[in-house]
Structures are given as C-alpha cells and as structure tokens.
C-alpha cells in the first residue's frame, strides 16, 4: 500500500521539528504515546499570554512515518490559532488531510491527544503561578 504524497512530504521534510524550553511559563508540553504500536510524540506550544494565540509549535517523535506526518501537520495547523480553536481540532481532520489508512488512524489520535496535553500543561502552569512570569 502506498502512502499519500502528503504523508511522504511531511515525513521527508517535517515542519517544526525541535524543542522549546519546558520550564518557560509560556510553553506547554504534551508527551503522549500509543502503546499498541510504540509511537511517542512530544508536542510543545508557545503561547502569547495576552491573546491566547499559539505563536509557535514544535514536535519530536519516535515511531513510524505516519506519526511524524501527523505531528508535523498538527504543529502547522495550530500555529496562529487560539487555544480554543486548537482544542477543536479533531483527529478525523488529520486522517482526511493525510489520507491515512485505517491501520494508521491511531497516529492521528496521538496528534490530537498531544495538542490537548500541551494545552492542558500550559493551563495548569497558569493555574499554579497566576503571574506566569
């Protein structure tokens, strides 16, 4: 079975690979895994505190090509979005965009989970240190 061209593109030339400072108050980190296949995804977002807009997003992953493509696409999509908009992204949209085969759907679920985990982490940070600085 051949992968969709978009998967290959994101796999061979992934966007937004990298790491942010986990300790920074404006950075939220999500680390999620799919035990069925062993893929792990770390997704980080940098948030503009005033506007609640995601200024930048980075990811790291180990696992298959679809996991890389899904996280690459997810980081592209959430940049410039508000937290609410980013939370509304569904894995099905990723499946559709990348034409993922049924057996790789969990990779898109992983990307959705990673976005939610990163936002959750950021919001928890805000809660514990209201000043955020």
């Amino acid at each position: 079975m051949a992968y969709d061209k978009k998967v290959i593109d994101h796999y061979e030339n992934p966007k937004n690979v990298g790491t942010m400072d986990k300790a920074s108050p404006n950075v939220g980190t999500g680390l999620v895994g799919a035990p069925e296949c062993g893929d792990v995804m770390k997704l980080q977002i940098e948030i503009d505190e005033k506007t609640n807009i995601i200024k930048d997003a980075k990811f790291k992953t180990f696992g298959c090509g679809s996991a890389i493509a899904s996280s690459s696409l997810a980081t592209e999509w959430i940049k410039g979005k508000t937290l609410e908009e980013a939370l509304a992204i569904k894995n099905t949209e990723i499946v559709e965009e990348l034409s993922l085969p049924p057996i790789k759907i969990h990779c898109s679920v992983l990307a959705e989970d990673a976005i939610k985990a990163a936002i959750h982490d950021y919001l928890e940070k805000k809660k514990t240190s209201p000043g955020g600085k």
């Binding site: 895994g33 035990p35 296949c37 062993g38 893929d39 792990v40 770390k42 180990f62």
Partner: protein, 232 residues
C-alpha cells in the same frame, strides 16, 4: 474465555471415548488403541501436558513435544481406520501450534493472557512511556542536526542506556510472571471460579501494563538501529 482459569493441570482421569476403559494417557487408549478426540477444554498447555503457566521448563516442553510427535506420527496409523488417522492429524496439528506458541516467552505470554481472557487492555489509556529514555532520544535527534560526530558518540551511549533499561524491564517482567504462576499454583481447586479470576486479574493487569511498555522500547530500538546505519 475466563474459563481458562479453571483449566486442569493435567488431563483429569477420563475414560476411553470408544471402549470406556480408564485412560492412562490423555490421548490414547492402551486397551482398544483408539485415539481420543480433542476435547473443547484442550488448550496449548494441556495438549503438551502442562498446567497453564507463564514460565515453563522449556527442556521438558521440547522433550514432551518430541515424545508426542513420535507417538502421533502418521506412520503409526497407516493400518488404522480413517477416524483414527483424522484424530491423529488433528491432535498433531494442535500440538505443532502449541509448541510453536509456548516455546518462546513472548508468544507464551500473549497466549496465556488470551487464554485467561486478558486481551482487551491494549485499549486502556495507560501509556507508560519511558520518559527519560524518550528525552535522551529527542536530545540525540537535536545533536544529529547539529553535529554528526557528536551524535555518533551520543548514539553509542544511548544504545548502552537502552540495553540496560531493557534488561531491568525484563527482570521486572520475569518477577511478575513468577508471581502470577505462584498465585496459580496456590489456587485451591475447590474455590469458586469467581474468586480465582479476581486474585489473578490484579496480577495479570500488572503484567499487561509491563508488556505494553515494551512496544515503546521496540520502536525506539528500531529508530536507533536506523540511525546507527546512517551514522556508524
């Protein structure tokens, strides 16, 4: 298939399906020479004369497999009727599958869990990611982008770290397996099946969680081997 919990250790005393004589072995009547049809309660462990346990004496397993293979060899049934030949083939097929699945600990573990009805837990949200190893791997990816020489030396360090981690995991896995087996050994056959599954269920969940974490290590190992080919 929770009924696996009441699986008998050895085939319990039964009578020949054909002539009614008490059977000395589980599969062949020494009185009339009829092979016994496979019962619905037979499983991979029972056909090889074992109680369902995670840790088996693999030397004995091999010995039993060869003994049974000889006893059920088609040459022995050339003068037998069609029914007896069919049963010998059926039993031998099951024994072949059983041996293949019980020989290695990983396949045996997964069959054991299935037999006892613990196979749905893969859907649980229990990722158990090896966080520190994952972080080390991510740093390695950064290093690769910056300096391949440095990445190569870090990669060697990572390989050692991953190997040690896997060895510790294996020890933990073996310890839980021994715990499950000991709990099964202690079961009083007179106890109700319900209490039994509760006692084992807790341990089996622990075992499953441990096994699930393995997939991360497998995919990490694959990624590492790939990077090794590129770098070293």
């Amino acid at each position: 298939m929770r009924s696996g919990l009441v699986a008998v250790d050895q085939a319990s005393p039964r009578n020949c399906n054909s002539c009614g004589t008490a059977l000395a072995t589980g599969f062949l009547c020494t009185h009339c020479g009829r092979l016994q049809p496979l019962g619905s309660e037979e499983n991979y462990f029972s056909v090889l004369g074992f109680a369902p346990r995670l840790q088996l004496d693999t030397v004995l397993l091999e010995k039993r497999f060869y003994e049974l293979s000889r006893a059920l060899h088609p040459d022995r049934f050339t003068t037998s009727d069609a029914e007896n030949r069919r049963i010998s083939t059926e039993r031998m097929t099951l024994i072949n599958d059983a041996y293949r699945n019980l020989k290695t600990s990983a396949l045996r573990r997964s069959y054991f869990l299935k037999l006892f009805g613990f196979h749905s837990a893969a859907n649980q949200k229990n990722p158990r990611i090896p966080v520190e190893l994952a972080e080390t791997w991510f740093e390695l990816q950064d290093a690769l982008a910056e300096s391949p020489t440095e990445a190569a030396s870090k990669l060697r360090g990572f390989e050692v770290e991953l190997g040690e981690f896997r060895a510790r995991k294996l020890q933990a896995l073996l310890a839980i397996e021994a715990e499950v087996d000991a709990a099964l050994d202690k079961l009083d056959p007179a106890q109700s099946a319900g209490t039994r599954s509760d006692a084992i269920a807790v341990l089996a969940e622990k075992l499953l969680a441990e096994v699930q974490g393995e997939t991360y290590l497998d995919s990490m190992t694959q990624n590492m081997e790939h990077m090794k080919k590129l770098l070293l």
